[in-house]
Homo-oligomer: 248 residues x 2
Amino acid sequence: MSHDDVYPASLQCGDCPIRHRAVCARCEANELDELESVKYYRSFEAGQTVVWSGDQMDFVASVVSGIATLTQTLEDGRTQMVGLLLPSDFVGRPGRERAAYNITATTDILMCCFRRKPFEEMMDRTPHIAQRLLQMTLDELDAAREWMLLLGRKTAREKIASLLSIVARRDASIRHRGGGNSLTFDLPLTREAMADYLGLTLETVSRQISALKRDGVIALEGKRHVTVPDMERLLLEAGDDSDGGLLT
Amino acid sequence: MSHDDVYPASLQCGDCPIRHRAVCARCEANELDELESVKYYRSFEAGQTVVWSGDQMDFVASVVSGIATLTQTLEDGRTQMVGLLLPSDFVGRPGRERAAYNITATTDILMCCFRRKPFEEMMDRTPHIAQRLLQMTLDELDAAREWMLLLGRKTAREKIASLLSIVARRDASIRHRGGGNSLTFDLPLTREAMADYLGLTLETVSRQISALKRDGVIALEGKRHVTVPDMERLLLEAGDDSDGGLLT
DNA sequence: ACCAGGATTTGACCCATATCAAGCAAGGCA
DNA sequence: TGCCTTGCTTGATATGGGTCAAATCCTGGT
């Protein structure tokens, strides 16, 4: 209901901004045509819940634009973010009827949805889709494992520094700013969402951000706009193994 | 070197104990034959390292028997387990040259290895393999996410109870023991490995196990043999959402 | 049976982070 | 214009789990 139904002018796959990164990345023209016939768009406003864990879910989807989060909760309300959905990320699981997590739009988002049954059938016939999905899933698994290291073993300060580096890198629409290797970006998450991401309380997040600011590791303009004067320094604070990641 | 080279009498895929659960689960007879031609066995003794993170890795494999762990470390030595490899689990990643994690044998293990290149080529030609691998990877991703909730939000006591329930369930070669719904099993991990699994110190693990024992949630025989008199109670202590999992 | 070394338990103490509580800043709206 | 609400910061205090240290248990070797 409400505003979910503000659809964009029907978008052609050929012009899609995530054409080369999403599940459909490897598809041939004819395969795209077939996908096109089962696809439809949905949009959600910042703050809206896309699906609740346990809900029937008869579609899978790609995030076209905007940011959403995947969260799990304990009965008493403690919640942990288990995934951050960025443009081109895949939502849902083929073969699964019900959502396993809560999905919430953090910003306004647009999703390219596929009816689940047709998509599953197509997956069986179209190796290009399954191959791409496997690759994406393996990447997510790697990300989840790096995140596990963060949750299990990093200090609050390292957690914040890690999150900031991730966002900075991702925002690798790297608009350099000023001289040197300084960069700036906007935090796409509230303090509370960051806390849920990092397994902390929002107060601790706030304190650690203040501390990093006080120590000159970052600068803030408003609450959300961050400048990193020295990326090396930030990475050092994140405590990651310095031998460079395996992935570019 | 050393004892890696105690191979079993060449095992036929048809008789393989993990035939119906591993990557090869969906393969037809002729596909199995092809796999058979690039497979070889390796075994490792408890405590041995199978590969170091960063090492060249020119094979992928299935765990046939025994238990191994996947761990990540920070420069200063803090380590976090990011995966527990049980029989039928897949090791390595197609398309990746170097290991991303340390793999260590916790018990004596036997692995069914495939040379990576031929395996990758075969994957492109054999949807049955890619399909099964996708399914397994999605399952692992779910497991990783549940684990993230544990690492980020559970108390030490809940963490221990969760680990015990997982091991108990897995050991669902459920040899019921005595009356009621009590069950027994052996912990396949040292206290230190449990600590690395749970993001705790080994002392805290020990204390919480003692506490659960004191409170009658579990009983111990020796250090490793556990009896759970009341599984319900243990699950309650684990703090998991009670609405039942989605998976059987 | 005796010893050595690793695994485990237990105790005392401390600190990082949670909890509880108050106050501030900015935007929406009556 | 001033009130509310939402998001954020900061302070005071409590506490769960970490750290350091020692004792005990267990196993294999001799």
